[in-house]
Symmetry: C2
Subunit: 398 residues, 2 copies
């Protein structure tokens, strides 16, 4: 039987690649610090579950394809707090940020088209792009320069007659890189000058640590035709399993094409949208507290990493990941060794190996992404274990 050439180009998730080997390590009684998946451990605010419980309609019917009005209004209200005026018609409710990305890419990209994405990037971007028949044109960055990319000449060198869009993650996954106001404006300017869409994945917006103001591409005027924002309650409210996101743009023609996708899949989950709407009643204090917790975790992880000779990493300013080059030959081999041949007093760890975060073959082989989604004490111990493991791994090889 023949399969689509597009799906053949896609891969399974690198974050889940070692799941089976890890399961066997679990069975052997190992304690694994799982830093491979961006699943926050903070409790989901109780208001979410309260809203689930107070759902008393007799029929669980489809919600409107463009999103439940209560949820759309809650998102508009949240953006109002950021100084961004939105109305219901400026957004679509989506089944997670993931679906918002799929919708946006489907509406824009054709066979043979290109989308510029700074690498390393979230690997699912490549899967989503492949499924449209287009390809990712990577804008390569490096750990030595803190993975920064907002330099006009470098961005423009990636743009050609096939380019239809630029995609940025801000704050960055996996890099934690946060664009300054000037850098973000530069990216928007480049998109506008070249008549490109700029897709801004801002799901980590509340996770910014160095006292900068929160920044959304929607706060800039004059880019209404170009800017597409991806949003989600998953990380912001520790509600990944709700699958509630949003696709936001003031380009009404773009949104009307995306509405075809919305109608095609009928609706997003009804009760999750209602419950997600209730989350947006949270105030600044909630985000401040969460941010402090993650900042402390970041500091713990970075402190641990800086004690290991040969590690290259900048302090990430946002999201909840550290991308780092490790002094090992190959992060995937190292990961396998960590799960099959190593332990320190019963402890070992998992990360996401760096290679699949790059579109350029051979890049990122010795890099890893680690999510600081565990308590500080666990992160501290995980970094100790990492230090011991690197030493053993490298002496074993000599």
């Amino acid at each position: 039987m023949k399969f689509s050439s597009k799906i053949e180009k896609c891969s399974l998730s690198p974050m889940r690649k070692f799941a089976a080997i890890a399961e066997r390590a679990d069975e052997r009684g190992l304690n694994i610090f799982r830093l491979n998946i961006g699943q926050p451990d903070l409790p989901t605010p109780h208001t979410f579950f309260d809203r689930l419980q107070s759902f008393h309609q007799p029929v669980l019917s489809y919600s409107p394809s463009n999103g439940l009005p209560e949820y759309l209004d809650a998102v508009c209200h949240y953006y109002h707090g950021l100084g961004v005026d939105l109305s219901r018609g400026d957004l679509l409710g989506t089944t997670g940020g993931s679906e918002a990305l799929q919708m946006a890419l489907s509406a824009i990209l054709d066979e043979g088209d290109e989308i510029v994405i700074p690498e390393p990037f979230y690997p699912n971007y490549a899967t989503m792009t492949n499924l449209t028949g287009a390809r990712v044109h990577p804008l390569t960055t490096s750990p030595e320069e803190g993975y920064r990319y907002a330099v006009r000449e470098r961005v423009e060198a990636c743009i050609n007659e096939h380019t239809r869009a630029i995609m940025i993650t801000n704050p960055g996954n996996p890099t934690g890189c946060v664009l300054s106001r000037e850098e973000l404006k530069l990216m928007l300017d480049i998109a506008k000058e070249h008549e490109l869409f700029i897709i801004c994945d801002e799901v980590y917006r509340e996770f910014v640590y160095n006292g900068e103001r929160l920044m959304s591409a929607l706060q800039f005027e004059g880019y209404e035709e170009n800017v597409i924002v991806i949003d989600s309650v998953s990380k912001r409210f520790s509600a990944c399993g709700a699958r509630v996101g949003a696709l936001i743009s003031r380009n009404r023609e773009f949104l009307s094409h995306c509405l075809k996708w919305s109608q095609m899949r009928l609706s997003s989950p009804t009760v999750d949208q209602l419950a997600a709407a209730s989350l947006y009643s949270f105030t600044k204090a909630y985000f401040d507290e969460m941010r402090e917790e993650y900042r402390a975790r970041r500091d713990t992880m970075i402190r641990g990493l800086r004690r290991i000779r040969g590690v290259i990493c900048d302090e990430p300013q946002g999201a909840f990941y550290v991308m780092a080059a490790l002094p090992v030959d190959d992060a995937e081999k190292f990961q396998e060794w960590l799960l099959t041949e190593f332990d320190d007093h019963g402890d070992t760890l998992m990360f996401a190996a760096g290679g699949p975060f790059y579109a350029t073959p051979g890049k990122g082989i010795n890099e890893v992404r680690m999510a600081y989604v565990l308590e500080k004490e666990k992160l501290e111990r995980a970094m100790e274990v990492l230090a011991i493991a690197i030493e053993q791994y490298n002496s074993r090889e000599k």
Copy 2:
């Protein structure tokens, strides 16, 4: 700004086309019998909401990409009751049957490929197919022959070197057509002989009225490589807003490609899968009662339609739709007139106009799909209103 040629080929949902005009009619105080959308009115079983309320994990985390084990096991158990042995590895949990369809088509179809679908068909099939770059090759049927299509010569006449799959809806939406055991086997044989996938959308499986045994393509042996089944809790348990479905196939290579899509969107909604699993504790008595209710509704609608001169329709044997040719020039014009110029004692009605259910241009212009998802008394009155409306509409034109 340039959009994807694929999305440009797609249309907004014909079922939702008259929503704005209907809203204005609502505002004028009209009572509209809404027969345009397949949203059952029966209460969702309470066990669903009970399970939502008993969710007590502190973090609402992603569920596994391939589906929550509890839900997968519940589906396997349900199929076991149909005499079909399935294990977790034979299916993926999906965000509604809609996502299962998207996944299957994405995994199979390339630019320039064709999929054979008997027409009239569910219009979202065309949107999903267009987004892959492939095209629908319609196998045309007609109201005069009860929309039946399972005839070897007619099916094979649609197969060429571009064909990759056949898609059938059984019981049929919009036609209510149910394949006999022999007809279903014939369709499977044709798929196998031509090395094609056969995608069987069986979401209306429990809605079969003429005493036939429930039939699934999975009950036939020898077609393991070819058969893909689409399933959902939406119609079966009146739980459309849960967005919980399944993609089932014994072709492991096919499922492994689809798992890439599953991982790309991370997970389906977690609490909805848990609650959906609880629905499968329902027994035959639940389905029997539901079926009796819909059978009575079908009979009411058909009785009403047979009183109208010039209507062509067969008694549908399954699902909850009647597809009928009306003695009007154009069902869309008639629909608009019904909402803007007509009422009978304050009543009017909506249906889905037939044209968009066909891929062949010009077909189905005077046909309509009506969902019998209202109580019998309402359906009876709706058919009276339709009779009066047709007469007024046609004399108005003379």
